[in-house]
């Protein structure tokens, strides 16, 4: 029971972080058709920039400044990199971002070293909020919850209630139509790419000290973000949200299940000491998202809530 409560709590937080990361990618992927391999690298960049800004000033400045900086980097990448490759088609774009992820990883290692940096939770939030089943619950996690919820509302407001949001929504579902309505499509693309990257950066700022800020953080997050976007479906932020929560909960709760395959499929004659029988659900947890990815692409290519096939 306790495990379940904790798994749920953490699952929600992890899911929200995932959503923060993947909402940007969903926007980019739906409008531009670019499955940005470097998206998680922007997440990492956000964490590292926040670490540096925090050293000089404070966490609160980093919380605002770092995502903005990451967004600007994203815009430059779109303007001078992606746009150039665009004419050669989606494969070239994908490969460009693939190489970009590589480059950002290396640059981060040059600037911040190869080991983890000491990126701390701000002192103001570094206290246990309450005790649950004998374990203290850090206040910072609840702070993450609030930031994520705030971002969710802000994004919703931006998309549903502002003119810019309406254009973006139109572009999400009908990427080819917006240009013919006289909007400056390259500018929209650049902005959306920048905003998407900034969201990833924000996730990095608040996720970097929740987890560990090291050069491997991008590689670890990268594939999961794809899973969220694909499972959620093209053009659907709601889908991305549902998928992110689903994967967040799935991954955190599956690891607390001790049952092995033999326990489940024992009735089929699977012995508990065979190599397959010994595999536990917990050890399969990290694989579940990829299984989901493959299954969704085969069975329901439009994702959970997408409006068109990928």
């Amino acid at each position: 029971m306790e495990t379940l409560v904790f798994a749920l709590l953490n699952g929600v937080i992890y899911g929200l972080l995932l959503f923060m990361l993947s909402s940007g990618l969903t926007l980019i992927f739906s409008m531009m058709g670019v499955l940005n391999f470097a998206h998680a690298s922007f997440y990492m960049l956000g964490a590292y920039l926040a670490f540096t800004i925090m050293e000089g000033t404070s966490f609160w400045i980093a919380l605002f400044l770092a995502p903005v900086l990451v967004g600007l980097v994203g815009m430059v990448v779109e303007r001078y990199g992606l746009r150039r490759v665009h004419a050669q088609g989606h494969v070239a774009e994908l490969l460009f971002t693939f190489g970009l992820a590589y480059l950002i990883d290396e640059l981060v290692k040059i600037f911040w070293g190869r080991t983890a940096v000491n990126y701390r939770v701000p002192e103001l939030l570094d206290f246990p909020l309450f005790t649950l089943y004998g374990a203290q619950y850090p206040a910072y996690r609840i702070f993450i919850l609030f930031v994520a919820a705030f971002m969710l509302v802000a994004l919703w407001y931006l998309l549903k209630k502002t003119r810019a949001g309406l254009i973006i929504q139109a572009a999400l579902t009908h990427p080819n139509m917006v240009g013919s309505l006289g909007h400056n499509v390259p500018l929209i693309f650049m902005t959306v790419f920048g905003v998407g990257c900034a969201l990833a950066g924000l996730a990095g700022v608040i996720g970097g000290n929740y987890f560990v800020t090291d050069p491997a953080m991008a590689v670890q997050m990268g594939p999961i973000v794809f899973v969220v976007v694909v499972v959620g479906g093209l053009g659907s932020l709601e889908g991305a949200f549902v998928a992110a929560m689903l994967i967040g909960l799935l991954q955190t709760s599956a690891i607390s299940i001790n049952a092995s395959l033999a326990d489940i499929f024992g009735f089929l004659g699977l012995g508990p000491h065979t190599e397959v029988g010994e595999i536990t659900i917990a050890s399969m947890a990290p694989m579940l998202p990829f299984l989901m990815l493959v299954l969704i692409l085969m069975i329901r290519p439009r994702g959970l809530m997408g409006d068109r096939e990928i």
Binding site: L95, F98, Y102, L103, E106, V227, M287, F290, L297
Partner: protein
């Protein structure tokens, strides 16, 4: 009919042309393979050459997907890995030497890898090849993650972290090769590399090979000339898996070990980069890419700790500015020379070359100085006796000025050519 066949004969390459364009390069390739040992290369050189041979076959198999069928895979190493693993197991059965296996020469391992790769391709390809484009790429990514995870789960098949090793000197000798010393392994690799090149090339000349290109260009239209594009993709996928498995079999004999990392995304990404940098539009592109990238992967790290960054820059540079890769430059240059247009373009070429050299000077300066600064041992980059410390203004001049100048020159060259 006769007059028309006559006209058509002009359309199809003549026997002499076929010989010149197809047979001669293969003969030359075989000659190169035969001549290399005459230069008495060191054992590490041979080891490197052997790895190049393996990567050539692997890259060619990858290009059957990416270049010829338009299928971007992020998990091609799965097939090389499974083929290689099977070969390693077979080698161990051979070493036990009972029954049938006692008579199998180690020399034949790539054939076993070929079979295992084909089987893996046939099983995994069945669900994957129903989609193309981005979904295919994503499925390959998911499958690669799953297979790599399985590699660490099933120790009896994959040997856990330490992998499975074998002895290439087991079993009966073939062609008098004990396969002990690396120079004997060279002949083994040379033979199978040639078979791999020949096989993948022959594949492009078959109806299926042509259909794979047609499917890449226009999958929909293929349906209306009586073919199922999913089926085409599936069959091509099996062959790509088979040749990757063959490379795995070669690698099993060369390195005598396979570990679960060989199934992971890392080698898959590496072969993607090698193939693309080589040039996916040309048959020979992946060969060039494999040679260059294998060399750089093993030797660049001797010169600089920043080699990964250089590789990354090179890859991004190729994607942005040279979509046809190294082969694109080679053939483009050759075409210009053959057409006798050197006179028209030599100025802009020279300009561009100078610009690129200048850019390289800056980029190398910046990267090398940055890495030393990052290490923090107070070490100084000293090319040609210059001492480029971060405090030295020359460092900054060298880091910026040639870059600006180089970009200007390259832009000028591009402008001149577009006129």
């Amino acid at each position: 009919m006769t007059d028309m066949t006559a006209t058509y004969a002009g359309l199809e390459p003549t026997r002499a042309e076929k010989f010149r364009q197809r047979t001669v390069p293969l003969i030359l390739f075989a000659l190169v393979l035969l001549v290399i040992p005459l230069f008495n290369p060191s054992r590490s050189m041979i080891t490197l050459l052997n790895h190049m041979g393996i990567t050539i076959v692997f890259a060619l198999s990858y290009n059957m997907l990416l270049g010829r069928a338009g299928l971007l895979s992020f998990g091609h190493a799965v097939y090389m890995g499974l083929g290689g693993y099977f070969a390693v197991h077979v080698m161990n059965w051979v070493a036990e030497g009972t029954g049938f296996w006692g008579a199998v020469p180690i020399f034949s391992m790539p054939a076993f890898g070929f079979g295992a790769g084909a089987l893996a391709g046939a099983i995994i390809g069945w669900p994957s090849c129903r989609r193309s484009g981005t979904p295919f790429a994503m499925i390959s990514l998911g499958v690669a993650e799953l297979v790599a995870a399985a590699g660490f789960m099933f120790d009896s098949l994959f040997g856990g972290e330490m992998g499975v090793s074998a002895d290439r000197m087991a079993g009966p000798e073939f062609l008098g090769l004990s396969l002990g010393p690396v120079d004997e392994v060279y002949w083994f690799i040379a033979f199978w590399t040639f078979i791999g090149v020949l096989g993948t090339y022959a594949f492009t000349r078959t109806p299926l090979g042509k259909l794979s290109e047609a499917t890449r260009d226009n999958a929909e239209r293929v349906q209306f000339v009586g073919y199922n594009p999913q089926r085409v993709r599936y069959l091509v996928f099996i062959f790509a898996g088979a040749f990757a498995g063959m490379a795995g079999g070669m690698s099993a004999v060369q390195d005598e070990i396979f570990t679960p990392e060989s199934l992971s995304l890392v080698p898959s990404g590496a072969i993607l980069i090698a193939t693309y940098v080589g040039g996916i539009r040309y048959f020979t592109g992946p060969i060039m890419g494999a040679i260059v990238m294998t060399y750089m992967g093993s030797n660049l790290s001797d010169y600089t700790v920043g080699w990964l960054l250089y590789l990354g820059l090179m890859f991004v540079g190729v994607v942005m500015f040279l979509p046809n890769g190294i082969a694109g430059i080679v053939y483009g240059t050759a075409d210009t020379l053959r057409a006798g247009r050197l006179g028209e373009v030599w100025q802009s070429w020279l300009l561009r070359l100078a610009g690129l050299v200048l850019i390289a000077v800056s980029v190398i300066t910046i990267i090398e100085v940055a890495f030393r600064w990052s290490d923090g041992y107070g070490e100084v980059f000293e090319p040609f006796g210059l001492s480029l410390a971060t405090t030295n203004p020359l460092t900054w001049i060298l880091g910026v000025l040639p870059l600006v100048l180089g970009v200007v020159l390259v832009l000028k060259a591009a402008k001149g050519e577009s006129k």
